[in-house]
Structure formats: structure tokens, C-alpha cells
Symmetry: D2
């Protein structure tokens, strides 16, 4: 089964293949009267765009977005605003080069979705992955740019924190640094190290994995739909559904296995604003599937791309054993371009939960509890 | 927002709180004519039941399940079979002891969902966690017992592979061992080590985290609903939504960050059965969000429970700073009882995707591709 | 496929068969802190209960409801309130008398769902219709009683306006009359006519159809989710999904075919409250799938029950031609008991749309439009 | 809330406004390997296209459709087939003429959705109805053309059976006639009558309602998802959600109110093909929400369009009382162009239920019941 919609109230449907004429998305359920122009979306798309450094695929795609519906200026000379109806966004593909793939037309690439799509659907879109291509993530980033505007004050940022064996030093974390190097790395020193390391990977025609951390600030407390629409569960699905992701963590993640109950508890005191504050954030901003009001912190691991120059043993569509070498353009570390994708997915999940919470509970704050909150 | 249904075609809705009269679930969309009795479900519930060793909470709950609807024997003397209509399962709570919690009625427990539920809903169910209690997982296990029967030949098993700093030795893995120790541990030697370690944790009134691995065998190739209902994305949501889970991995998980494309590729050869086989399973049985036909391998990390005897700093519902000590019955390692829950969640996800795939594509195998498959 | 959940944010899942041990529902997504007791629900159930006059089935079911979850009194001595988590309601079946049906065990009843359930699922629940029985509607009525409390000020009432060839005179409409006769008829004179007519039908062992009108007052303007979740579309599905319903109308319904654009237009003037008012309500309170603020007016037609004493030609499960006579207890006009069911379904649809609207748009009124509404 | 997706497994999401740059849809969940070209879709679009006779709006729209994704020819020289991934269809708007609407920019049109959209979203798309325009139905027709191909052998046809006071004579019903007159009328004599009558309506600048009947043949028995996804309930929602529809009937519809149980029962005999056959079809092919295998017969009533030349009393956005006259191009009987829309909606509902049924129950026929059907 194909299932290309996510979200419950803020719903995103995407379409398009790596080598088709266009890709895009339809955003449904967005609140009305939010100012929105193509430029707002283009900004994020430009960060994900391939070919911006030697560390990502050289495919040249301007990824220019057009808004086909869902915005209107109802006052003379007024600004374009969301109407509350579906926002359709379209991005043309301009640099498909299908010929690159003709040599491997009938061969399955180990570690790639070509085989499973063929098993499932009985078709083999040999042209760069078809629907399974990372190119689809452009539509996610476009949707995320709209989602960011739904939750007042929301800031969602991501950074690459590990490539291969090289991890950042968290003491050096500087968000400003993320925009200054081609890796979205928050640690200038690590970025330099990544550059040298990745040059080696690239020249060897190999590829390598990575870990991305995504942080959302100004997330209202109370978001999350227990117990099967928990905020962390939806984040886990959103991240695991990004191409090539094999692991997801919230807060301390797998490290909690080694934590005692004493160390794991985020103790509470009263803040100067009259609201509870936490003395630590092992929980990553989520308890019981509901946001605490602290920053939401999540990570995901991206595997190396399967497009490599070394021959791998495989079979073809007729059941013959063979070998395969992928010579098309590719990403030595596909995790780099996953950074803005991670931001987009988290923004979409938060926008959705913001609306879902407002639907069930309304806009009045629930804490401190007061009689006036009662219906 | 409350959201207590999961699954798309095989849909499970659960209800009930830790200290209410009963909990249960409604399973909708189950195929008809599957033989089903309460005993089939009781077997799995008994594995999750508390109070079976000194390593889990001493709450005494028989967890006896009743089938209220959805089965019928339409032939005289025939066996009860699913009818295709909703299967309602009910489990009475019998050992609530609400008084245990009266001392902490207005205090938030650090690391626990009591605070976030109150922020969200304006209510504080101080009695053992209310809806956020691990007691809710009994309903998941009941549903999982039905799900296991939906996919022909499916086997889903789980094991505890880490408690605190202690990991199993994978060379010792023996599924038979899982049923022989109170930890669901597949490594007899590690189990002995866990016992000593956990006795210390328990006596200290502390708690500790754990890692559980879940393996599904005989999963048909082709299951998964790309790109926002990927099999791994749904597994990630299902596991992250289990109480206290903070991390999820598929296949090599976070280790992929350090893998090269060469090492990560699961090479393919033809098997003796005329179908492709893989020479390794770094992918954990899923590529592009679709099952490969290999075993599906996934893991999740469980944090330590917040019910501990050491005082923690906190605030109460009126905004006063205070301390809290939890003296009720509790689990020193709540990860232990999460083992059958992990099995149940994976079984439910697979049952759902089995039906979803059959809906879109039908029952004919798609590989090797043949003209006769065309509609 | 079985699909026993309806609603999007206010979600109702029902379960149970005519002759199983119990039936009930799980209400998910209900706002928190709404006072709720079993008595609130019992009131509506008692109106639907069979055996209250000679014009409905003589099956004796007290239909006593129990609340299994989702309410809690978090203050000492406080009242029970919804918690925001699933509300499970259970109703035991006490008067099943399965033996009544043994004579027709393998025969299909013309006009009844027994045949289609068997074709679909391969099972024949000959005991009074199984899941297809009107008994399932008790769970709908229970859910509706909760739904009524979700929309502030909402009043949903229904009345029987036609039995067989006999229609009420709208000039005599008196809501108070509805509670005074066994037909929920708002016209005392028509009620007397219905009584005589229906006695004849009952004595003949026959059955007859009916038309029910449902009116919701105090429906906020702006509810509805265009263009595939329109308020009228959801009402149409909710009514058509009631047992035996074959037609649904909103406002003028089928009469619009004969209306000119001039006559159909509900003209507008400004009301004394500074809000627009309409000079007529041909639209039945809904334009473009969105509520106008006028009363929502809808109707549905109920066919005669298939349980009749006259022999009908049919076939049995083995493919043999035969005849069937239904001698069990039955309703001469099943439309009568559909009156509270119609109310319940409309209340559920409105509760759901109230929350959906609040989710997307928030709580601020949108008219008259003002800059302060902008986000 | 905006909700622009319908269907569960065969899912259609539409977007676009009357006066935006384009409209279209994304079809998700379509089975793979179904041959599909733009010409297949264009055929149906051409039947709905405006400006083909003097009885519909003179807006000139070629409604040329482009397929942006979801089809692929994986064999050299092979035909384009669905891939199982999202099929995006795009139709450019070319004849918007926004200036026509400038005179009524701030006035609400009685009987039109402009007011309710403004109340809901705080925006007034005065340009021909925006999202509420019947222009949106082009996307539905495009989706319906794909849906027709999903159910083997399915034939869905519709006809206009009433305009104003003029009804067809069913004795004259001839499907071939439907394509020969501008009304999709199956009765040649009635068509002539319609022409004269509608010329009068058109010249008076008035408008009139209509009734459309839709018939689906070769619908497999067993489709429908009781009890809240019944086939007739989904049809009712699909039809009521078409612009301007105020009533829906299945089979005998509102006439059942006057039927006795004896007359309403569709008696059964065995057919020559060894399967049950019905001696009548009062049920319209659906019992208990599940298809019987007979033709599915449904009707809907369309109100007259609100675009008329006579002045109507209304208010404007600032709350001032005024009058309005609509001088733009319009449809004297918008019901005419609803005929192919009704076909499309029924085809989509049937395609969805065909896949849903296959998902839960598989492909084996369920009747006559045999042991081999058991899992």
C-alpha cells in the first residue's frame, strides 16, 4: 500500500519521483490568515538543494517552488495569506539525466529500495530510485516551511553531530556555525575534521553514515496525543520515515538503558515566571508522550547511501546473479542533506499536534489549574 | 488530544486506567474465520503479568481476559471464530490499592507523565499514573495475541539484551533460554548477571533502564506503505509509544553512522528456492520502508521508572516547591515487562501492513515479475 | 472490511452483537473536565430502550450503562469529570433468547443483512442479526449523550414526521408533544392517527417505513470541513449508516429540484445582535458544507424491518430455494426507535466538527472580520 | 477545518480554486500495473467541461489534464502503467476573468458559500467561489476516471432524471440517449421538454434544481465496511459533498417510508450461474451497508445555483444591508454538469471499498461458503 499523507489536522500529501516531470505537496488543514509567499518556502528549499558543495550530489536542481492554491489577498493591495484551504506546492524537475541509469536497468542495488519496490509493486523504476529517491524530501522541506508558521514563536533547528567515527564536541556547540560550513555542523573544529574525512570517502567512491540532532524551542507544554499519537511516537515515525534512517532517539535516547531512576528524573522547581521549570532535560522535552515545555530534542541516524563505486554482488530481475557498480551522481554522505529534512519533519509534527491539542482542549492554558478552565 | 487507536486496517483501540474498574481493547478489521478463544490471548497476558518474580511490581493482577464480541461458532458444535466485526476484550482491575498514592496526591513525580497530563488536561490522576500507567500495556498484549494469527506463519519474539551497563553476549543467544529466566534474557550467563545486579537496584529502592530486541520471522516481502506509512516508521511509532521508551533502532540502528556503503550493503544471491536471498541483514529486514523477506529486527530502549525511594525535588499543583518519594509498589526495571509488549506491538504493525498490502496489491506474489500479474 | 469507528477528533468506536454478552463503545478525544455520570447517559438510553410500548419489539433490555474509564474526580468529594482519555461504556445484553432464531438458521431473510454479511465474511450470525442488529444503536445513543455536552448550548431533538402514508401537519409541530406519545411525534393529532394505523400493521405481522426529522439548535456558524468533510456530507453518512436508512435530506432536500434560484436563496439582513440573520432556512443551516448559524435541519427515511410474518421466497446457505417466515420479536415500525438514534448521530457529528473547527481556526469568532483575528 | 482527502485505501486529495492558476488532485493507494494515460482521464473531463451547450456556463476551459507522477513504462517501448505510488494530476485554469466579480467583492450572495467561508476562515474569495466553486469538481472527475479502472468490469453511469417539475418517464430509459442530448437525459422525449423549459429559465436569468441518478453495474457482492463505513453511508457522504446537493437516496430512497415489509423485501431465488439472484432491487444493491451483487442505484438532488439576475437582499462584510445581483457567467441548471461528477464519486467510493474488502478478507469468494475459505 502506498501512503503518502502524514499528519492529522495539519496534513501533508506529497507526490513525485526522482525522474518524473515534477514533485510537490498538498498541505491541508493549515490555519487561515497566515501570511505566506513562495519566498518563505524557497529559503528552506535552498538549504536542502543539492550541488551546493562537493560533499553532496552534483545534480543541478534549482528547486524553484510555485504556490498553486490556498493563498489569497482579499484586501486590495493586501498580502497573500493562507485561506484555510489546500496549499498546493509544485517543484519542477529539470536535471533528470535518466541515461545514467540505463546500465543497471534490471539489476537490484544492494541496500537500496529498488528490490523491495519491485517485490511490492511489480515495477522497477531504475531511474535513480523513483519514488524512493531522496529527491522526494524537497516536498517535505516545502511543507515544513509552512508548518513553522503555525506554532507561534516556534524555532526548529538541526545540526549534524556525527559523520562516520567523528563526533562533535558538545562544548563547542554554536548554532551560528551551522550556517557556515557545508555540513550543518555546530562545531567549527569538527566541521574541519568532517571535511578532510569526507574528501577521502568521496574520492574512494564510497559513502558513510551520520547522526543528526533536531531541537525545537518554544514548544508549548501539553502537545501530544496519548497513547497512540504520543508526540515522541509521531516524531519517531516522522524521522524513521526519512530516507535511509535506521535509528531515532528522544532526549537521552539509548543512553537511558544505563541511567538510574535518580539520574533520569528531571527535577522541578518554580521558575521566576511562576511556571514550573526543570533542572535538566533527560526527557528531551517529552513525558508520557506530551511536551513538557522544555526544548524538544531528538536525533536520528542515517545510513550510507547505496550508490557506491565498488562492485557489490547482486541479482537481476530475471533471477540471474550478477554484480553492480553505481556510477551516477550521488551523495558521499546523504545525511548532510537530511538536516533540513529533519527540521521540516519535526516542524510538521509540532504544527499538527498544536492544532490537535487546540481541537480537544481549546486555547486556555491548563496550568496552573483554575476553576475558570472548566467547561 | 487523546488518540487511543492505532493501525489502519487492523485497528486497535484501547481504554482504561491503572486504578479504574477495568481496561481493555476493541480490535476492528480483523479478518473473519480465524479460530480464536480467550485462552489464545491469556497465554500472552500471562507472560506480561506483574508479580511473577521479585524483579517486577508486586501488584497482584490475574489479568483474566474476556471476549465480549466478534467471535461466533456458526456451525453446531463448531469452534469459535472471528466474525470480521469488532473483537472487544475486557480485563478487570482487581488490586488497585489507591490509598498507596494519597501521600503524593498533589505532587508531580519527576520523570513521570503526571505533570504533562495535568498541563494538558487540567486533571491529575495521582493513582498510579492513570492512563499513563504501564498497566495499559495489558490491552496491547491482548491485541497482539490476535494480531499474531493474522499473518500466516508469522513468529514474533523478543528478548532483553541489556540492563544498565550489562549487555548479553550475542554468541550465547538461545531463544529457548528466554522462557527460563525472569528477564526474558536469551543468554543464560547474562541472566545470572542481571539477577545479581537487579537485586542491588531493587534493594536500593532505585530503578534502571534496559534495551529490548524484537525479531519477526516469516514476514512476507513487500509489506510497508511508502513514504509516510513505511514499515519501519510504523514500528518506530509503535515502539516509541510504549511507556518509557526513548530510542528505537531498525537493523544496525545507530551503528550505521559508522558504516561505509560497502559494509552496509546487504549483498544478494539466488537462493535454492529460486528467490533472492541476502548475505547479511544490516537493514533489519526493511529497505525503503518495505520488508525484504528477511527477519525484521528492531530494538528499543526503556528508561528507568520514576517510582524510586530517593527523594527528588519537585513542585506541587499549587506551585509550591517540595520533595517527593514514591513508596508504592513498583518495577525496579520496567523494561522487563516491556518484552511481551514489544512483541505485541510488532505483531500488530505487521498484521496491519499485511492487510494494507493485500488491499492495494492483492494476493498474487509480485516476484519474479510475470505478465500474469498484470491486471 | 469492518469499520466501527466514526469521527475525527471526537471519535466513537462501538462493538457488540445482538446476542453476545454485551455491547458498548469507546469515546476517544472528548475534551477534559466535562462533568459526566452514568445517569447522564442512561437518560438517553431509556428513550431508545425497546419494549416501552406495543409498537416496538418486546425484547426486555434494561440497557443499564456502566462507565469503565475516562472519568475521575480529582478533588476530594468532587464530581466525576471527563479526563480527556478514552471513555469506555458497557451495556450488558440480558434477554437474548437465541432459540427464537434456530428455525431460520441457514435461511437468508429477504431485505436483511444476513446474506451480505455471509457473502462478505463467510459467517451467518442467524441470532437476530448479530452485528447488523438495531441493538448496536444503543452504543450510538450512549455516545451521543456525551457528545451533547461537548458543544456549549447545543440542543439536538428529533421527531417522527411520517409513518407509511401518514405525514404530520407541520402547523401542529410542538416539541413538548414528542415526549407524550410512543412515536416521538410532534403533532398530537397525527400521533393518534399513527396509533390506529400501526396497530393494524402490527396485528397483520407486517411492518412499515417512516421518516424522522432531526433539528440541532445553537450550532455555531463555521462548522464543517470542506470539501470532503463537509458538515452535511458527514451528517449524510451518519444518518445513512443507521440501520435501515435509505434516504437523507438537508434543509429542503429533494424539494430543491423544483426550486428556482430566487426561491432557494435564503436572503440576509442584519439582526439586532449585530450579526447577520437569514430570512428563511431552505439550506437547513448549511451552505458550502459549513454551518450558517441557523438551526441544522435534516431528515432520513427508514425502511420497514424485514422481520415479518408473511412467507417470502428465499434461498439458504447451501444454495437451496426455500421460504422464510420470521416469528421472533420485532418492531412493526423500526423507525420509531431510530428517533433518539438520529439525535445521537447528529450530536456526535456536531461535537466532532466543533473540535475540528477549533483545531484549525481556534476559538476567536471570525465574523465580523477584524485585524485582531490574524495570527 | 479543511479536509480535502477522501477514501481510505484509494485516497483522493484535491486542491485548487476557481480563479487560481491551477487545480488538480493526488490519487494515493491505486493498485500498480494498471495501464493509464492522460487520454483515459481526458475523456471523462471532456464530458464535464463547461461551455459545451447554452445550458451550462460559458466559461471556456479546455480542462487539459497532465499526469505529473505515478505512472511509468518499465519495459522498453512498453505502455505507461500505474506504479502504486501517488498519481498527481494537474489542470490549468485558463479563463478566470476575475474582473467579473469586482462589483460584488464585499457582498455575500444568498444561498452561496461565500458567507460561511468568511465566517469560518475570515477570508472572502469573491472570485467565483474560490474553493467552493463547482470548478473543483474537475479534479473529482479526473480521479474518478482512474477509479473506474480499479474494479474489474465495473461500469458506472449517470443520468439526469428531473429538472424542476419535469421528470423522465422511466419506461423510456435508454442509456444510449444520455450521450445524445446536452442534459445527460436517458429519455429523448423528456430531453426535448427539458430544452424548452431550461431556455426559459436561462433567458429569465434564473436557475433551477435537478435530480441525478447514478447506477453502478458489476459491483462485486460483499463491498462495504459496517457499521460506520457502510457502502451506502460512504456513497451518501460522497454525493452530499458534491456542490449544491441537498438530498441522497439509495434504491427506493424516501419511498420506503410508504412501503410494507412485504413489498420492500427483495426475494431471492437461485440463478442459472449457481449464485443467488434477487427478484427486485428495492435495496438499490446494498443491504446492511454491504453490496448484494445487484446494481448499486443512488440518486441525489441538486439545488439551483445562487448566481441569478434578480436582486436579492443581503449584507456585506462590514455588516451593512444591501442587495446583490450576479451578472457573471453561470449555469442555469448546475445539476447538468453534476452528472459526470456523480459517476466519478461513485466510482471512487467503489474502488476504495473494493480495496478495503480485499484487505480484510482477501480475494477468495466467500459464497457459497466452503471449508477452503478458512484461514
Amino acid at each position: 500500500m502506498s501512503f503518502n499523507t502524514f499528519g492529522h489536522l495539519f496534513r501533508v500529501t506529497t507526490f513525485g519521483e526522482s525522474h518524473g516531470p515534477a514533485l510537490g505537496c498538498v498541505i491541508d488543514g493549515c490555519p487561515p490568515r497566515i501570511p505566506l509567499t513562495a519566498a518563505d518556502i524557497q529559503r528552506d528549499l535552498d538549504r536542502r538543494r543539492p550541488g551546493q558543495s562537493r560533499y553532496t550530489t552534483q545534480r543541478q536542481e534549482p528547486d524553484t517552488v510555485r504556490i498553486l492554491s490556498g493563498v489569497f489577498a482579499d484586501a486590495a493591495g493586501g498580502q497573500e495569506m493562507t485561506t484555510g484551504t489546500p496549499i498546493a506546492l509544485l517543484i519542477d524537475n529539470v536535471d533528470q539525466r535518466s541515461k545514467d541509469y540505463s546500465a543497471i536497468r534490471d539489476k537490484y542495488r544492494p541496500g537500496h529500495a529498488g528490490y523491495t519496490y519491485d517485490v511490492k509493486y511489480g515495477l522497477h523504476d531504475y531511474r535513480g530510485g523513483g519514488r524512493a529517491s531522496a529527491r522526494e524530501t524537497a516536498a517535505r522541506v516545502a511543507a515544513g516551511a509552512v508548518a513553522r508558521k503555525v506554532v507561534p514563536g516556534l524555532v526548529v533547528r538541526a545540526a549534524l553531530v556525527q559523520i562516520g567515527p567523528h563526533r562533535i564536541d558538545r562544548a563547542n556547540w554554536d548554532w551560528a556555525e551551522v550556517g557556515r560550513n557545508p555540513f550543518f555542523c555546530p562545531d567549527a573544529r569538527a566541521a574541519a575534521q568532517f571535511a578532510g574525512y569526507l574528501d577521502g570517502v568521496r574520492k574512494a567512491g564510497s559513502s558513510i553514515g551520520a547522526v543528526i540532532e533536531v531541537v525545537a524551542e518554544n514548544v508549548p507544554a501539553g502537545l501530544g496525543a496519548p497513547v497512540y499519537g504520543k508526540l515522541d511516537a509521531d516524531i519517531a515515525a516522522a524521522f524513521m520515515g526519512i530516507n535511509a534512517v535506521k535509528g531515532v532517539e528522544i532526549g537521552d535516547g539509548f543512553a537511558v538503558a544505563q541511567l538510574s531512576g535518580e539520574d533520569n528524573a528531571d527535577e522541578m522547581r518554580m521558575g521566576n515566571d511562576g511556571r514550573p521549570r526543570f533542572l535538566s532535560n533527560h526527557a528531551g522535552g517529552i513525558l508520557g508522550g506530551i511536551s513538557t515545555g522544555q526544548p524538544v530534542v531528538a536525533r536520528f541516524a542515517v545510513k550510507p547511501t547505496s550508490s557506491i563505486l565498488s562492485a557489490r554482488r547482486t541479482v537481476d530481475r530475471t533471477g540471474r546473479e550478477t554484480e553492480i557498480v553505481t556510477t551516477g551522481r550521488h551523495d558521499p554522505c546523504v545525511g548532510i542533506r537530511a538536516v533540513p529534512v529533519g527540521e521540516a519533519m519535526l516542524a510538521c509534527v509540532l504544527a499538527d499536534h498544536y492544532l490537535r491539542h487546540r481541537g480537544q482542549v481549546g486555547e486556555a492554558p491548563r496550568w496552573p489549574r483554575a476553576a475558570s478552565q472548566d467547561q
